[in-house]
Symmetry: C2
DNA sequence: GTGAAAGCGCTAACAC
DNA sequence: GTGTTAGCGCTTTCAC
C-alpha cells in the first residue's frame, strides 16, 4: 500500500522475506553454490510471491559478463552485410541469444581488421565475437582477452572454435555428380579471392579434375548476379567447349544461368550449371538449380551457443555436411 | 609498471589524473551537464592518455537503460522466424544498434502474446521492443513501461510509433497497372487472415475493382510456395476466366506462377501474375516477376533508431512508398 | 562549475 | 550451509 510497493523487488527484498542473507538468496536463485534444500525453497517461494525478477544489468556488471555477441563480417566493404546469408546468421544467433538475455550486434570489419579488433577487445559489453570469413592471419592477431571469446564461421584455429560447412567435400560431391552425368569440360566459377573459404573448393576441384585427366578451368567470381553473368561471358569466350559450370554460390550460378540463356545456350542440354548454398529460391529458377544445401541456421546457432556457454567444449573444428540437391540444371 | 597497470582504467583514474572529481569526469565524458571547457579538455586528455574506455555494463546499470532491443515476431508459431524477411529486419536492426552498444534479440510471440509481453515488461535488459505484425488489440494491451519503448512494423497506435510500407497504395498501384494493361478479371491472393496488414490491401483491391464494375475475387493465401500453388488451383477451378492474379507476396506469386505453368496456362499471355516485396530473386524467375519493391532495410533501421533515440520524435505513423517494378509477368 | 556521497542491484571472497 | 562485507564502475542528486 505504501510507496515501497511501486519499487520493483530486489534480491534484498527476497532475502528479507525469506529471512536469509542477500548472498544466500543470490546463491539460491543462481542455482549453484551450497544452499540447504529447504532454504532454497524458502527463497524461491519468496521470489515467486514478490514477483521478483533478477536484473540482468546488475548481474552483468557484477559478473563482468558482456551482454552482446558481435557478429563481425570481414570483407572489402560494408556492403557484405547486405547478403541474405548474413541475415540468416544474424537471426539464428539472435534467437539463440535471447533466452540468455544477450543481444546481437552486427558489424562490418575490414580485411585488415587490426584496429577494429582492438576496439572490440576493450569493449566490456562484448560477450563474444563471431567472426565471419576470417583469415588465419586475422585469427592469430586477436588480442588474448577477445580470442578466448571468439568463434569463427570459416577457418578456425586451435583455440578458436570454428563452425562451417565442409564445402570442400560439398564441391567434390557436385563435381562427382557432374562427371557421373558425363560432363567432361567442367569449369569452376570460384568465389572472390579475398574470401578464405574459397581455397578448399578450388583445391578439391583441381584435384579431382586432374585425377580424371580433364582440363582445369577456374574463373574468379564474386557473390552477385553480374559476377555470374561476367563469368559466363568469360567462359564462353575462353572455353566454348565447356559443358558444365560449377559455381561456388547460387547467386553467381543464377547469373551464369541467365547469361547462358541470353547467349542461346541450352541448360542443361548444352551446359550444366550448379550452385552452392541452396538459397530459398534456387528451386524456383527455370530450370530449377541443382545445388548443395547447407545447415546455415544450425551452424549459426551452434556457434552462438559455443560463445554463450564456453565451458561446454566440443570438437574443433566442427564441419557440417553439405547435401547435393539435384534439380534440373544438371 | 606495477600491478595497477594491468587493471583497466576506470573513470576514477581519469578523474585522479585530470585532478577533478569523479562526477566532473563523468559529466565531461558524457558531454552534457555543465563543465568548464578547460576542465573538459583536461578530462578528455587524461582519458585519452590512460586509454580509458567507458564500461557499458556499469553505465547501463547506473542509468537503468536496457542493453538489448527485442524483435518480437507475432505469428501462429515459431516458424515465422525462418522467413527471410525476418533476417533482413534483424540484421538491419543489429547494424543500427551496434554503435549504441546495444544488441538485438529475436523472439517469437504467439497471437495472444499477453503473458509473453508481461515477461518482456519486467525484463530490465530490454531497451526497446520492435513488434512485427501486431494487432491493435496487442498494442492496446501493452504494459505501460513497455509501451513507452515499443515501436511497430505494421499497424501502430497514437503512442506506439509505427513504420511500414504503404501497402494499400502499393496494391492499388499494381491493380491500376493491371487494369491499364487491359486485365479485367483480376483475382487477389491475400495474405493469411491472422496477419493484420492484409486488410488494407484487400480493401484497396475491393474498392478499385468495384469502382471499375469488375468482379471481386479474393482467395486467402499464406506465405509459402505451396500456398501459392493451392491458390492457383483454387482460382482455375472457381473462376477459370481469371486473366490476372495479384498476389500479396512474391513467394506466393511464384507458387502461383509455377502452378499455372504446370496447368499449361501461359504467363503473361493468358494470365498475368504480380507479387509484392521484390525479394532478391523475383527478378530471376522465368518469366521475371512483376512486383513492388519495399525499403525493408530502411524501415527496420528507422524503427531501430526510434527505439534507441526516443527523444527524436518523428511523424507517426510513418509510411514508406512501395514502387512498382514491371517485369515480364504482367 | 565542481565535489561529496549515495546509490544502481547483484555477486563472490572469506569468515564462521 | 550461511552471513558479512567489499566490491563491480558509473551516474546523479544535492550542496557549495
Amino acid at each position: 500500500m505504501t510507496g515501497a510497493d511501486l519499487r520493483r523487488p530486489t534480491i534484498e527484498d527476497v532475502a528479507r522475506v525469506a529471512e536469509v542473507s542477500r548472498s544466500t538468496a543470490s546463491r539460491a536463485m543462481a542455482g549453484y553454490g551450497h544452499v540447504a534444500p529447504l532454504t532454497r525453497e524458502r527463497v524461491l517461494a519468496a521470489a515467486q510471491r514478490l514477483g521478483y525478477r533478477t536484473n540482468p544489468l546488475a548481474q552483468a556488471l557484477a559478473r563482468g559478463l558482456g551482454h552482446r555477441v558481435v557478429v563481425g563480417v570481414i570483407g572489402p566493404d560494408a556492403s557484405v552485410l547486405a547478403d541474405p546469408f548474413i541475415g540468416r546468421v544474424t537471426s539464428g544467433v539472435a534467437r539463440v541469444c535471447d533466452p540468455a538475455g544477450v543481444g546481437v550486434a552486427l558489424r562490418w570489419l575490414p580485411l585488415r581488421p587490426h584496429s577494429a579488433l582492438a576496439a572490440l577487445a576493450d569493449d566490456r559489453s562484448v560477450r563474444g565475437l563471431m567472426l565471419l570469413n576470417p583469415t588465419r592471419g586475422v585469427l592469430s592477431s586477436l588480442p588474448d582477452w577477445l580470442r578466448s571469446r571468439t568463434c569463427s564461421i570459416g577457418v578456425g584455429a586451435p583455440d578458436v572454435p570454428s563452425f562451417d560447412v565442409d564445402n570442400t567435400a560439398g564441391v567434390d560431391a557436385i563435381l562427382r555428380h557432374l562427371h557421373d552425368r558425363g560432363r567432361r569440360a567442367v569449369a569452376m566459377v570460384a568465389g572472390p579471392a579475398w574470401l578464405p573459404c574459397t581455397s578448399g573448393p578450388v583445391r578439391a576441384y583441381r584435384l579431382r579434375t586432374e585425377a580424371a585427366g580433364l582440363p582445369v578451368r577456374v574463373v574468379r567470381g564474386g557473390f552477385d548476379l553480374p559476377d555470374g553473368r561476367r563469368a559466363a561471358d568469360h567462359l564462353l569466350r575462353q572455353w566454348p567447349e565447356t559443358d558444365a559450370v560449377l559455381a561456388c554460390c547460387d547467386v553467381t550460378a543464377l547469373g551464369v544461368l541467365t547469361r547462358l540463356r541470353e547467349h542461346g545456350v541450352a541448360v542443361p542440354d548444352d551446359v550444366a550449371v550448379t550452385g552452392f548454398d541452396d538459397i530459398p529460391f534456387a528451386g524456383l529458377s527455370t530450370p530449377a538449380l541443382t545445388t548443395s544445401t547447407n545447415p546455415t541456421h544450425q551452424i549459426a546457432e551452434d556457434a552462438a551457443r559455443a560463445l554463450l556457454y564456453p565451458s561446454v567444449r566440443k570438437p574443433n573444428p566442427r564441419r557440417y555436411p553439405s547435401h547435393l540437391v539435384v534439380r534440373q540444371t544438371s
